[in-house]
């Protein structure tokens, strides 16, 4: 039996030890994240079969759950850890060649810590502990957004930081209120004591927590930091922010809503909010000329879709939402990674600067195209089965309202298709002006792209690969009582 706490402890320990390695040799530093996430990914995969049978509850320090902090490695937690480790691994490989300037050692440390924080968030079973890991995640992303140190990076980092700090303060107030009300911080214990989220004294902490977490999850009015931060960060970090950070934020929102509060009466509101987020994200993306801002707004749109799916709250919908989450991580990660090298090559983030990239960087462009197709939801890529499940879940509700909402969602898809296909056209069907020498991304950059593409294709063609995990993850989210029982016994 492997202990899931290693998923957090090992990256943290390696991050702490990284300066010591740096003292020995500057060159091995950048391989440490790779090692850490290979370990994590293997561990997460190793855990999956066990977890599908029974969630593993780890008591930190040996104290029983309401009294000590516990980790809950259920299907959701392990799914997310595996996803984080996978994306982390690929982006770490990418960064081997991509990060050539600046305080590299600090980059790798922050990177490790960011993902360790993300893993902590998804595994923990204690709400204050969630807050702490959330802060690790947020603070390291503030610092990483500013990593380049140019005007845009610093500006967006400070904006991100202020909004994030306000959000975490709200979160902390909410946690304080909850503790005052129920005298416990354990999520399962809280869930056991909260029968209804409607009474105002429970509602206020709930919305405080949702707002606090929602800032990171990029729910509609709380997401103003996102396009700036995602577009100004180094591309490898953008990939992680888009692919992992906001997903983890969304995970936290979902966990709070489903497990702690069981706020079924809020779901309709969140369905609307999701659709609104989706439409606004996609429409803003449509109006962009800057590739990274476009991708960032598209992330907002995707988050909206996932929120919508989660808010339908049937087992199909949750499976679909989680699947969409996976496919968004893969697709958006790939897009940001490829965009990174295309920006590097063309020296500009304007889409028009990518003219003729199909000739100049054929493999990179191909990877970009596949990522874009997958995000739009075209078969045979992974975006298709996930959208399929979501639409099916919405229609299975057999309510006119949901049919209309899914219509709006798919309208968003049309807009998304419009701007992604525009970029694809620019890549392939415009003549390059000037330098058209063929020079692809370096091997360390291509490997993660190829792996991403492989995952996108394999999961798109054979969704059964992950569907079992997703199903049990969905049922974990859906059945509060199961969760409470598995933690508190």
């Amino acid at each position: 039996m492997v202990n899931p706490v290693l998923l957090i402890a090992v990256p943290l320990g390696l991050a702490f030890a990284l300066p010591l390695f740096g003292l020995i040799s500057k060159r091995i530093v950048k391989y440490i994240p790779v090692v850490a996430f290979i370990f994590n990914f293997a561990l997460a995969l190793r855990l999956i079969p066990d977890v599908l049978k029974q969630a593993i509850v780890v008591e930190i320090g040996g104290f029983p759950p309401p009294f000590g902090i516990n980790l809950v490695a259920g299907p959701v937690g392990v799914l997310f850890s595996a996803l984080i480790a996978l994306a982390g691994l690929l982006v770490a490989v990418y960064a081997l060649a991509y990060i050539t300037e600046g305080p590299k050692e600090k980059y790798h440390m922050l990177y490790l810590l960011l993902l360790a924080g993300a893993t902590g968030v998804v595994l923990t079973g204690d709400i204050f502990n969630l807050f702490v890991f959330f802060e690790i995640l947020c603070i390291s992303s503030y610092a990483l957004v500013a990593y380049i140190g140019d005007r845009a990076g610093i500006e967006s980092a400070i904006k991100y930081l202020i909004q994030g700090a306000v959000g975490s303060s709200f979160l902390l107030i909410g946690i304080g209120l909850l503790y005052g009300l129920f005298g416990t911080l354990n999520m399962a214990d809280l869930a056991q004591q909260i029968e209804s989220a409607s009474s105002i004294s429970v509602f206020v902490p709930m919305v405080l927590i949702i707002t606090g977490l929602g800032v990171e999850a990029a729910i509609f009015p709380l997401n103003a930091w996102l396009p700036d931060a995602h577009s100004s960060a180094p591309s490898s970090i953008s990939a992680i922010l888009s692919g992992i950070a906001i997903e983890v934020g969304l995970y936290a929102v979902v966990r709070v809503l489903f497990t702690i509060f069981g706020a079924t009466n809020m779901f309709m509101f969140f369905a609307f909010l999701g659709v609104l987020t989706l439409l606004i994200g996609e429409m803003c993306a449509f109006a962009q000329n800057n590739i990274k801002r476009m991708l960032a707004y598209s992330s907002i749109g995707q988050m909206g879709l996932i929120v919508f799916a989660m808010a339908i709250a049937t087992s199909y919908a949750l499976t679909g939402g989680l699947f969409q989450l996976v496919s968004h991580t893969l697709g958006k990660g790939l897009l940001f990674l490829t965009a990174g090298y295309m920006i590097y090559r063309s020296g500009s983030m304007e889409i028009s600067a990518f003219e003729g990239m199909g000739k100049r960087m054929p493999l990179t462009s191909l990877a970009f195209t596949i990522g874009a197709f997958s995000l739009v939801g075209l078969p045979p890529f992974v975006g298709f089965p996930s959208k399929f499940l979501i639409v099916r879940a919405a229609l299975a509700k057999e309510e006119i309202l949901f049919t209309v909402l899914i219509g709006l969602v798919l309208l968003g898809t049309v807009i998304e298709g419009a701007y992604f296909f525009r970029v694809v056209q620019v890549l392939y069907f415009k003549k390059a002006n000037g330098n058209s020498e063929r020079k692809d991304a370096p091997v360390a950059g291509l490997i993660p792209m190829v792996v991403f593409v492989a995952f996108i294709l394999v999961m798109g063609i054979y969704p059964q690969l992950v569907i079992e995990v997703l199903n049990s993850a969905a049922s974990e989210l859906l059945h509060r009582m199961e969760y409470i029982r598995s933690v508190l016994g």
């Binding site: 105002i200 429409m283 089965p385 639409v391 419009a418 392939y428 069907f429």
Partner: protein, 618 residues
């Protein structure tokens, strides 16, 4: 011969020819030709077979199923033959272009995915292949750069709209019946409520109407036809667009069934009446817009929209005669439109991409095979007896009249009349009249282009004289939909209300030809002169153009041009503009000032709390 093998050959051929192109380009073209011809040959062996087998269990617990029956075989055969001819035609056409590997990959992929669509036994695989077809076509339409980009965007946006609405329709089927297997659905769906059936028809109808360019959803087609590589136009216009027809047949006659489908809605607002009227409007409007075009490919594009209207008219009434007409017209149209596009392609190939009708002319002596092709093509298009178009149009007219729809028949007739005008314009502007100076040295089309044109010309005549060959197949399709069998003979159709017998016509035409030949023989012998040897009644012959192809139907133009514009296309452009403005407006929300952003956060929180305190909504 299993269907999986067929699809493996199709998709594998596409991928392999791309790989060959990268490894050793010399064998790529032969390989592409061989694989597509092999596909057609294999397809022929499938004739008359009915089978169904799941080929993949992996998709979300839904088995993906391939099946074949007469309907599928009919479309598949047409697709594979036309595809093979297009590949042969491409050999020389794209030789000197860049990125030919990419071209072949997408061409073969589009072909393969169409085969997938027609063999799909369930809606998931149908949808998957449909989408593959959409994006591969998008990539091919954009291939020519420049204006093609706009055309590609139009195409893909409308395609996505279509597939989105199909996705909703298909998943609502799944949500209700728990299966997407077409054969099972065809047993379950007919008992659904009328409202639901109408909902289905609208959703699927949008998808198929977009693909089939039924007005008012035709906007993508003219530009897409005009801007895509002409060698691909064959595939695009011949079968790809007609996947919409296949879809209509599938949803109306296979899934819902004629009994329910033809009685949906009150009075004259029955679903199929509306469909028919849309078809008729499509015919009239697009025919006249085609007349106004001066671009050979735009003209053919508009013409294809109109011909799509005929097919819809044919299948809308659900009689065995009309159905036969509609399906037969699909095939015929595919044959002659491919031929016409190939002939335009050959001209373009030799004249450096020229497709402006006013700048061409007099190529008859230079490119005789292309001319014959074009001539037979327009004959089919118009529906001159002894060409295939005649038979199918005859069947459609007859249906309209028998069903008592004189207005629709009249509309179809107007369409044919306009069709004659633009067809004459087409053939005249390219092949007749004065040969421009710069095209004096134009050579004949290469053999790889002539061969498919010759084959298609023969097919036109064959189907014109012996319509029974395809009609027998089509009749089987009709009976499988539950209609009564037609009395099909090799020479035509016999029925109590009138018999079509091409042998009589053939005899009459042959006799007329003999007589005309005799008359010519009796008259004075014609003296052949050079094409440039022209006299202008004593005046000096100007060096530039002096023949009358410019402003050919000038009075008619002036009469119709204010009314027959592509208003819907204009509206779509405007709509795109509005969307852009709305998007720009919405993004102003992100002002860049942190105070506002913090305010949004507080606002969200305060709003939720306020609502709950005030109204206890949650």
């Amino acid at each position: 011969m299993s269907l999986e093998l067929l699809l493996i050959v199709a998709f594998g051929g596409a991928l392999l020819s791309y790989l060959f192109g990268k490894i050793c380009p010399q064998i790529r073209d032969p390989f592409a030709v061989i694989s597509s011809v092999a596909l057609a040959v294999m397809m022929a062996f499938l004739y008359g077979k009915t089978m169904e087998s799941p080929f993949y269990f992996g998709f979300l617990g839904l088995p993906l199923i391939l099946r074949t029956n007469m309907l599928a075989w009919f479309f598949a055969m047409a697709i594979s033959i036309l595809g093979a001819l297009s590949v042969i035609f491409s050999w020389d056409y794209v030789k000197d272009r860049e990125r030919t590997d990419f071209y072949y990959l997408m061409l073969l992929l589009a072909n393969a995915s169409m085969l997938g669509i027609v063999f799909a036994g369930d809606f998931v695989s149908f949808f998957v292949f449909w989408e593959i077809m959409s994006w591969s076509t998008f990539l091919l339409i954009s291939y020519n750069r420049g204006r093609a980009l706009g055309a590609g965007m139009k195409y893909i946006i409308m395609s996505i709209v279509g597939s989105v609405s199909m996705l909703i329709g298909m998943l609502s089927l799944y949500a209700i019946y728990g299966t997407l297997h077409i054969a099972t659905l065809s047993k379950l769906v007919p008992s659904a409520s009328s409202g639901y059936l109408l909902f289905l028809f609208i959703l699927f109808g949008i998808a198929f109407a977009i693909k089939n360019a039924l007005m008012p959803l035709h906007t993508w087609l003219p530009d897409a036809y005009a801007e895509s590589p002409t060698s691909f136009n064959g595939v695009l216009s011949g079968m790809l667009t007609r996947m919409g027809m296949y879809g209509f047949l599938l949803i109306i006659y296979v899934i819902v069934g004629a009994a329910r489908a033809l009685n949906l809605g009150p009075g004259i607002f029955k679903f199929n009446y509306i469909l028919a009227w849309l078809g008729a409007i499509t015919i009239v409007v697009s025919t006249f817009i085609a007349l106004l075009q001066n671009d050979a490919k735009q003209l053919l594009g508009w013409s294809a929209i109109g011909q799509g209207g005929y097919m819809i008219l044919g299948i809308a009434f659900g009689t065995s005669l009309g159905l036969a007409g509609g399906i037969f017209h699909t095939l015929n149209h595919a044959v002659y439109i491919v031929l016409l596009f190939m002939s335009v392609g050959a001209v373009q190939y030799r004249t450096g991409g020229q497709r402006d009708l006013d700048s061409l002319g007099g190529l008859i002596k230079r490119m005789p095979v292309s001319f014959i092709g074009a001539l037979l093509g327009i004959s089919g298009l118009i529906g001159i007896p002894l060409t295939n178009g005649f038979v199918s149009k005859w069947l459609i007219y007859k249906t309209l009249i028998l069903e008592g729809h004189p207005f629709l028949a009249f509309a179809a007739l107007i369409g044919t009349w306009g069709c004659i005008l633009y067809c004459y314009k087409f053939v005249h502007h390219i092949f007749l009249g004065q040969l421009p100076e710069k095209y004096k040295m134009v050579a004949r089309a290469p053999f790889s282009m002539q061969l498919p044109m010759i084959i298609l010309s023969l097919v036109i005549l064959l189907f014109g004289i012996l319509p029974g060959i395809p009609l027998k197949v089509i009749n089987t399709i009709g009976t499988s939909f539950g209609f009564q069998s037609l009395n099909v003979t090799t020479w035509g159709i016999a029925s109590e209300t009138g018999t079509l017998n091409t042998i009589n016509i053939f005899a009459a035409v042959v006799a007329a030809c003999v007589i005309v030949w005799l008359i010519f023989k009796a008259g004075p012998k014609a003296v052949p002169v050079a094409q440039e040897d022209t006299y202008a009644a004593g005046a000096a012959i100007p060096k530039d153009r002096y023949h009358y192809t410019v402003d050919f139907y000038n009075p008619l133009y002036r009469m119709i041009s204010p009314y027959f514009k592509d208003f819907i296309g204009g509206f779509c452009i405007k709509l795109a503009g509005w969307t852009q403005n709305v998007c720009h407006g919405i993004r102003q929300m992100y002002t860049g000032y942190i105070g506002h952003y913090v305010m949004y956060i507080v606002l969200f929180l305060a709003l939720l709390i306020f609502v709950q305190l005030k109204w206890s909504l949650w």
